[in-house]
């Protein structure tokens, strides 16, 4: 039993197989080859635009800065080629957000991926998240990221030809959290679903730092206002 578990753990690559350039790249970073033969420059421009203009990203960056985890573009974000259809990831070992330059081609998609990964980074900053050993922690962060980043907005679900309305947001969050777990961990769909169901109530209702589910940028304005006035709020409760 222990030997089987040991061999399972050795096979587990924790999703790093999807990001082969984390260890070595075909083109050296900053080289002409990287500029000419990859989408690296386009990714950098879109990333810069997302960090400067997306209300979600700006709010998360501000909150993380207040908590002691200021995120800098050059240190905490990396544009790389990825395998499969994955759009991005958060590497807890290096505290870096990875953006898949070969899979993200629209600014709206970049904004959403940056928000999604910043939520993972925020969770890493504020809690002892055991990304590699505790599936419940991974599931919780994926539920929160799918819930709060706009991944499951009505418009995005329509574009995926998912036509639910009543309570459909929760179904989408469950589904996307499960997909994310299955993409980076060698677990069965049944096991993944069980873990998602176990932590769903707690993590779906954890809206930090927004305080509410930000369905659009107006909700983010309310969240930002509440965050700025948090001193007055908590001292007068």
């Amino acid at each position: 039993m222990d030997q089987a578990r040991e061999s399972e753990q050795k096979d587990e690559d924790y999703g790093y197989g999807l990001f082969p350039k984390r260890k070595e790249g075909k083109y050296k970073k900053g080289s002409l080859g990287e500029s000419l033969f990859t989408f690296h420059n386009k990714c950098q421009v879109m990333l810069h635009f997302a960090l400067e203009t997306s209300p979600y990203a700006k709010f998360l960056l501000g909150v993380m800065k207040q908590s002691g985890c200021a995120a800098y573009k050059d240190r905490h974000f990396a544009c790389e080629d990825c395998d499969g259809i994955v759009s991005g990831g958060f590497d807890a070992a290096t505290s870096q957000i990875v953006l898949c330059q070969n899979n993200v081609h629209r600014q709206s998609h970049m904004n959403r991926v940056v928000t999604h990964e910043l939520i993972h980074a925020f969770d890493h900053c504020r809690a002892h998240v055991d990304w590699f050993n505790d599936l419940r922690h991974l599931a919780c962060s994926e539920i929160r990221a799918a819930n709060l980043s706009g991944d499951c907005s009505f418009g995005n679900e329509l574009s995926r030809l998912n036509f639910g309305v009543k309570g459909h947001h929760q179904d989408c969050v469950r589904d996307r959290a499960l997909r994310s777990i299955l993409a980076v961990r060698k677990v069965s769909p049944e096991e993944g679903k069980k873990v998602v169901d176990e932590v769903f109530d707690s993590c779906f209702n954890d809206h930090a730092p927004f305080g509410r589910i930000p369905h659009n940028k107006d909700y983010v304005k309310f969240s930002s206002h509440d965050f700025q006035n948090r001193d007055r709020y908590y001292s007068n409760l």
């Binding site: 690559d13 924790y14 790093y16 984390r22 260890k23 070595e24 970073k29 207040q66 908590s67 002691g68 985890c69 200021a70 240190r75 590497d91 070992a93 290096t94 505290s95 870096q96 969770d123 890493h124 900053c125 504020r126 809690a127 002892h128 998240v129 055991d130 590699f132 419940r136 922690h137 919780c140 009505f154 309305v165 009543k166 309570g167 459909h168 947001h169 929760q170 932590v199 109530d201 707690s202 993590c203 209702n205 954890d206 809206h207 305080g211 589910i213 369905h215 659009n216 107006d218 309310f222 206002h225 006035n229 948090r230 001193d231 007055r232 709020y233 908590y234 001292s235 007068n236 409760l237």
Partner: protein, 154 residues
């Protein structure tokens, strides 16, 4: 590094020496608890000891804005899309009326209603046990430079 603290005696600047330097990081509530723990009760009088220094947790206009936002068509749709229910917005309106009542007359009943309402909101958000343990300070390697030469271990 100096920390500014609002006390009943007015604004007070406290030098953050080794005792308070640990209180500069982490979430807001953790920092506030840390500061209160480390200062003596003489240096930190109760901030809300009297009615004269208490203010509603939010500005009255915020309650009205929340009420309007709550009853908007888009919010009703989003609530139905997320929870399958219609939002209950009356509490925001009641809180706005209580806030205005407090502003005009410093009515103790209005203060009590507002505090109860906001505490209920905070309690509703903390209803479920967290999955993970919160940190006391940010991760130590957050700002460490990347080692590009060494391959990263998963």
């Amino acid at each position: 590094m100096k920390i500014s603290l609002i006390t009943t005696a007015g604004k007070k600047i406290i030098r953050a020496g080794p005792v308070l330097s640990e209180c500069l990081i982490g979430s807001y509530t953790m920092r506030l608890k840390c500061i209160r723990f480390r200062l003596t009760s003489k240096e930190l009088p109760r901030m809300t000891a009297t009615n004269a220094v208490w203010r509603p947790p939010r500005m009255c206009d915020d309650y009205w804005n929340e009420f309007n936002h709550c009853k908007s068509l888009w919010n009703r749709f989003y609530q139905y899309y997320t929870f399958g229910t219609i939002p209950a917005c009356q509490q925001w309106k009641d809180d706005y009326k209580a806030c205005r009542e407090w502003e005009k007359r410093h009515n103790a009943e209005a203060k009590e209603l507002l505090q109860q309402s906001e505490r209920a909101r905070v309690a509703a958000q903390s209803k479920f046990a967290p999955v993970w343990k919160l940190r006391q300070k940010p991760p130590e390697d957050w700002h460490l430079p990347l080692n590009q030469e060494k391959p990263e271990e998963p």
